[in-house]
């Protein structure tokens, strides 16, 4: 009862600010998709493409380095080969395939997105969405527990306040009818009144 009443009271105040906040949120979202949606293949030079590809290919003889970063001889040779293939008109995928055929999948700095390797890419999505999901559910549950405690508290408060009001009213009525002092322990602060009442 009390909660429905407070909803009506707060409702109109919440609404306009919510609209403002959601407008900003929507605007941000739209901006995000507008900005990310219009990604176009830039007019990158072949050299830039070669560097980018070099960052996606591992150096076979170095621990965990891509050929882009390595100074090893084989890395230098591979970089030249990448550039050669690009000059010959190969696509990025063709260049990668060229090296996978010769060195195996290990040569790719990130696993391909097919077959078993798909697992490598799906798991992060599950982890992140699952994590956020668990966080939201946890908050919701903690909040529900809180609201139950709160509503119990509200009831107690209501009983105290309303019962107090009611009793006070009864007392006032009694005062009017009998002209007696209306203190009977409801209002603790005026303890003196009670003793006066007893005296009179």
């Amino acid at each position: 009862m009390a909660s429905r009443f407070s909803f009506v009271m707060i409702g109109p105040r919440v609404l306009p600010s919510n609209v403002g906040a959601s407008a900003i949120a929507v605007l941000l979202f739209v901006l995000f998709f507008v900005t990310t949606g219009c990604i176009r293949e830039e007019d990158v030079t072949l050299e830039q493409r070669a560097h980018q590809l070099a960052g996606e290919l591992m150096c076979p003889v170095c621990d965990g380095q891509t050929i882009d970063g390595s100074n090893a001889q084989i890395a230098q040779d591979m970089r030249l080969k990448v550039r050669d293939l690009l000059d010959g008109g190969s696509t990025n995928a063709e260049v990668k395939d060229y090296f996978v055929i010769r060195y195996g999948q290990e040569i790719l700095a990130a696993p391909s997105r097919s077959g078993f390797n798909l697992l490598a890419w799906i798991m992060p999505v599950i982890i992140v969405l699952g994590g956020i999901g668990i966080a939201l559910i946890t908050i919701k549950n903690m909040r529900k527990a809180g609201q139950q405690a709160q509503s119990l508290n509200d009831q107690r408060q209501f009983l105290q306040n309303d019962l107090a009001d009611y009793l006070a009213q009864v007392d006032r009525d009694l005062v009017i009818s009998s002209k007696l002092n209306p203190n009977d322990g409801v209002d603790q602060t005026t303890g003196t009144g009670e003793s006066e009442a007893v005296k009179s």
Binding site: A21, G69, P124, I132
Partner: protein, 691 residues
């Protein structure tokens, strides 16, 4: 010397065993004297490790080549300064260093532990002693740095050339120290739980010790990135390789912890969660030790190949089981005092931030383990390196930065929609204006632009908070600087946090700039020739030799000119036709608008014994971009082969360091000093009203 070291290690082994047993037995049988003596034994282990470390350092300084470890990590012509740090250049020595750090911080932590934790201290002491016992055991019996050689060689092999850099004095010690320091909060909390001390008595000491370890680890990683940038010669600073990842993972978990421990401190919530985070952090730190010390995780086989790997793996699994069992045992007693009131509260935003940090940690762990899994499940080797982590972790890290702008603006318990809107509107406007401005300016790469917008949004939210707080104090009479200082002083954990957030934003700028806007070109230059990239012309003007018996080394002196592309339009067009980003010039004569702006001196050394090259890149730094010249090789025909890049905003990566350290220290500074002054109480009350 070797005998002294071995004896000190054995003494330490006995002392730590005595300390562990004494603390537990003393507590169980209620023999106070035994617990006191266990505590003193723990102090004495520090002395034992110091003697061992001193013996090893002395062996290095004296060039005592009867010790295998000294032979393998030093020689007579290395820079003398590095002799002092060579003792942690290899496996055995760095284990000794880790133990030295652990014993010192354990002694400090136990000495300064608050009185109210007295009941749980025996358990804390026992846990610390057991961890030390493990390291003493490894050092004494498996990986002794005091192993003697039968025949004494004339000279040593020398230190790993990649380690001879000023960063060697700070990066490895901080990284290893930061990892092992996570033991301290873990020991305090586990001790409290075993003793049945469920209250929040441990909150402050766990928070402080966790932040110290976290700050040290973070600084260590940043220094490692800087070291990589200046010396490793691949033009980057973070490669997501397993060694880096195992340091990052516990750091992420501890980052989550130092946020959520505030919820427990202020609201009495998240107890279970905090215990879980500390446990995960401790186990991940053990994983870090295991992968660092047990050999690199290039393949699953290298684990099994080293005895040390198995020993560390066992210890890690033991700590995992211990932490998990303790958690399950005491979970029922770790209920929150209060409930969550709203999604729009700081508690809720901290919980979401926690899960995002854990998500990055879990994805990273998955990436580290996937090659092992692939090997195991289908016998196919795959690599999981930077491109994978950039794509998977990048978006989540961006999400964390967004939370960094929203979370601190939310009050505890519950935000009204109105106040939230008031707080978010200006940062939101700043973020949107930034994005629009960058779009209008014709800056390319939408993801980067969006990220810049988010950085601006978060920066504006911090600025707004400081602006409001400072103006309020300014109006009551303080001058601006004093007003800001008092604002920060009034709630150091909060405002120290903001300073750290600023450092993260600076780091973010650098990461976005270098990842999305780097330009590169390769070339080989003879003396007098130039290489042009964007607005720079680099002219190779001089060279010299700095070889030593253990290395072949050469440097190149280069002049850096700022050019006007119009002067070079012909060559630029030609280069673009060939698909090149830059080009070399035979003729380096000055053109009208060339302006000499700097000299750089890239250096290249080859260490024959190690079959390893080490380079110093030539770097010209400005606030906007770095010109970065890697000397790949000095060719036989006298030319130098270089890789030249322009790394936008790289300066911001390193400038973030001081902010990170200062922010951490502000957050750590004891609040008691303020509470003594009565005049501040009102200010604190006001500032805490919103907190």
């Amino acid at each position: 010397m070797a005998d002294l070291g071995v004896m000190a290690l054995l003494l330490g082994l006995a002392l730590s065993a005595y300390s562990a047993i004494g603390a537990i037995v003393g507590e169980k049988l209620q023999m106070a004297e035994l617990v006191v003596s266990a505590r003193r034994a723990l102090y004495m282990t520090t002395l034992a490790v110091m003697i061992a470390a001193g013996a090893l350092i002395n062996a290095f300084v004296q060039n005592d080549f009867s010790i295998a470890y000294v032979v393998n990590h030093s020689n007579t012509h290395m820079d003398r300064a590095f002799v002092w740090v060579a003792f942690y250049a290899g496996n055995e020595g760095s284990l000794l260093y880790i133990l030295l750090t652990l014993s010192i911080i354990s002694a400090i932590a136990v000495w300064f532990a608050p009185k109210r934790l007295a009941r749980s201290m025996p358990w804390t002491i026992a846990i610390l002693a057991i961890v030390q016992l493990f390291y003493f055991g490894v050092l004494a019996f498996v990986a002794s740095p005091f192993e003697l050689l039968d025949t004494i060689p004339v000279d040593g092999r020398g230190i790993n050339p990649l380690l001879t850099h000023p960063g060697m004095f700070s990066h490895p010690p901080l990284l290893m120290g930061g990892l092992i320091a996570i033991t301290i909060p873990f020991a305090f909390v586990s001790g409290a739980l075993i003793a049945g001390n469920y209250g929040d008595d441990w909150v402050d000491v766990a928070r402080v010790s966790a932040i110290i370890g976290w700050g040290v680890l973070g600084t260590g990683m940043l220094l490692g990135a800087w070291w990589a940038y200046t010396i490793l010669g691949w033009g980057g600073y973070w490669a997501w390789d397993p060694i880096e990842n195992v340091a990052l993972m516990p750091w992420l978990v501890m980052t989550a912890f130092i946020h959520s421990i505030m919820v427990q401190k202020r609201r009495g919530m998240f107890r279970m969660w905090n215990v879980a985070l500390l446990s995960i952090g401790f186990v991940l730190a053990q994983l870090g030790m295991f992968i660092n010390r047990g050999g690199p995780v290039v393949s699953v086989h290298s684990f099994a190949a080293s005895t040390l790997g198995i020993i560390f793996l066992s210890f890690m699994l033991a700590s995992l089981v211990f932490a998990f069992a303790l958690f399950l045992w005491r979970m029922p007693q770790l209920k929150s005092d209060r409930a969550m009131e709203s999604f729009m509260s700081r508690e809720a935003s901290f919980l979401i931030n926690n899960f995002l940090f854990l998500a990055v940690m879990a994805v990273t762990l998955w990436g580290v383990l996937f090659p092992v899994l692939s090997d195991f499940a289908r016998d196919v080797s795959v690599s999981v390196s930077a491109p994978y982590f950039d794509r998977t972790n990048g978006p989540v890290l961006l999400g964390i930065v967004v939370m960094m702008g929203i979370g601190p603006l939310l009050p505890w318990r519950k935000a009204s929609a109105r106040s939230l809107k008031q707080w978010l509107i200006w940062p939101g406007v700043v973020g949107v204006v930034t994005i629009v401005t960058l779009l209008i300016m014709g800056i390319q790469r939408p993801v980067a632009i969006f990220s810049f917008g988010i950085v601006a949004f978060v920066a504006a939210s911090i600025a707004e908070e400081w602006w409001r707080g400072t103006t309020a104090r300014h109006r009551s009479g303080d001058n601006w600087a004093l007003a800001w200082w008092r604002l920060v002083n009034g709630n150091r954990p909060r405002h120290g946090g903001y300073i750290v957030h600023i450092s993260i934003l600076m780091l973010g700028l650098g990461i976005i700039g270098t990842n999305f806007y780097q330009q590169r070109t390769d070339g080989a230059l003879a003396l007098g020739e130039s290489l042009v990239l964007d607005n720079y012309r680099i002219e190779y003007i001089d060279t010299g030799d700095s070889s030593r018996p253990d290395r072949i080394a050469q440097w190149a002196e280069m002049s850096v000119y700022q050019i006007d592309p119009d002067d070079y339009s012909e060559e630029i067009d030609l280069a673009l036709d060939q698909g090149a980003s830059g080009f070399t010039l035979k003729d380096s004569s000055l053109r009208p608008n060339d302006k000499l702006i700097d000299h750089i001196r890239p250096w290249h050394g080859f260490y024959v014994d190690f079959n390893m090259a080490s380079v110093r890149s030539g770097i010209r730094t400005t606030l906007v971009e770095d010109l970065y010249v890697i000397p790949r090789d000095f060719l036989a025909d006298g030319r130098v082969s270089v890789a030249v890049s322009i790394n936008p905003l790289a300066w911001w990566l390193w400038a973030s360091g001081p902010f990170f350290i200062i922010g951490t220290m502000v957050a750590l500074w004891p609040q008691a000093a303020v509470e003594r002054r009565p005049t501040r109480k009102t200010v604190r009350a006001v500032s805490e009203g919103k907190n």
